[in-house]
């Protein structure tokens, strides 16, 4: 009876059917199942949310970096440097100057830059943004 068809296709179809079951499960059933498996469903979900937040933060930085690159390209194409947005090289210079001048910067943010580790352009832009958000460039550097 079951020998006529592709076994792989049959299992794939069963997986789809079981995914339908997962998606249709009642709130009570799905929580009970997760509790039985993981102990505390809430704690387990908080880990999934944390994973998603990490990815969200990563993509936000990436989008910001890409947007800045576009702006840089646009401003250099127009021959104008009057925009508030910094070029990567400016951001790097500002961060390095700040590192020389101040010793009260958050260590977790600046550790890589202080230790001379190789940092990507994206890392520099991100560090600039973080320090800027914390107001370290509000005293005239910005």
């Amino acid at each position: 009876m079951s020998n006529q068809k592709s076994p792989k296709k049959t299992l794939d179809n069963l997986v789809e059917l079981l995914c339908d079951e997962a998606m249709a499960a009642s709130d009570a059933d799905i929580v009970a199942e997760a509790t039985a498996y993981h102990g505390d469903a809430k704690t387990h979900v908080s880990k999934l949310r944390a994973m998603a937040e990490e990815r969200i933060a990563m993509h936000r930085k990436k989008r910001l970096f890409e947007a800045r690159q576009k702006l840089d390209a646009a401003s250099s194409a127009e021959g104008s440097n009057a925009l508030v947005n910094r070029t990567l090289s400016e951001m790097k210079d500002l961060v390095l100057n700040l590192l020389k001048k101040r010793d009260d910067l958050p260590q977790r943010l600046t550790m890589a830059a202080r230790s001379g580790e190789s940092m990507s352009d994206e890392d520099w832009a991100s560090l600039y943004d973080d320090l800027s958000d914390l107001g370290f460039f509000d005293g005239g550097e910005k």
Partner: protein
């Protein structure tokens, strides 16, 4: 890249929808992810979820505005799982090409490893039949899967009500989880 056409949601919308998922939604999606990689115990369902989140946010898999977010998420899980499984197959290495006399729905002739997998898959199906030898309604679902039938077709063909179909699907789920706690392949 240009502007996001109106028929697709923006990355900000995707972000908002991800944050808006309820605990139960996360658990359902994780369960679906675990089934998609059920036969590959080396792939962690959380890896599938994380990669799906990345692709949704990065716009590699865009969200059509007229599709429910959870359905879209599930579809992305499916395609990510397909990709990870293919990578895993490549990592495991391919055997010598062997011609076989039956069609397994593939584009080309299966190689030695595929042949082994076909036998394993067939054995799994036989085990599933054995597990539910006294449950005709679950058998209807397995037969429907073999025939590539939709849920509606199965209900019609085997005279099952919607409630009976749902209950049989639940028994199938529980039975498989109990019998194959680590997946269909170890």
């Amino acid at each position: 890249m240009g502007e996001t056409p109106d028929e697709f949601a923006s990355p900000a919308d995707v972000e908002q929808a991800i944050r808006g998922l309820r605990d139960e939604d996360w658990l359902r999606l994780e369960k679906a992810a675990s089934y998609h990689v059920y036969r590959y115990s080396s792939i962690n369902p959380k890896e599938v979820l994380a990669e799906a989140v990345s692709r949704m946010l990065g716009g590699e898999r865009r969200w059509p505005r007229d599709v429910n977010f959870n359905t879209y998420f599930r579809n992305v899980l499916r395609s990510v799982a397909d990709e990870l499984r293919n990578k895993e197959k490549e990592r495991l290495g391919l055997g010598t090409t062997v011609l076989v006399a039956f069609d397994d729905g593939q584009d080309g002739p299966p190689d030695g490893r595929d042949l082994v997998q076909q036998v394993e898959h067939q054995e799994t199906i036989e085990q599933i039949w054995g597990l539910f030898s006294d449950d005709e309604q679950v058998q209807s679902l397995v037969l429907g899967a073999e025939e590539g039938m939709t849920a509606i077709e199965v209900q019609k063909e085997f005279n099952l009500s919607g409630a009976e179909y749902d209950a049989a699907r639940k028994r199938l789920d529980r039975g498989l989880k109990k019998h194959f706690p680590k997946g269909w392949r170890s």
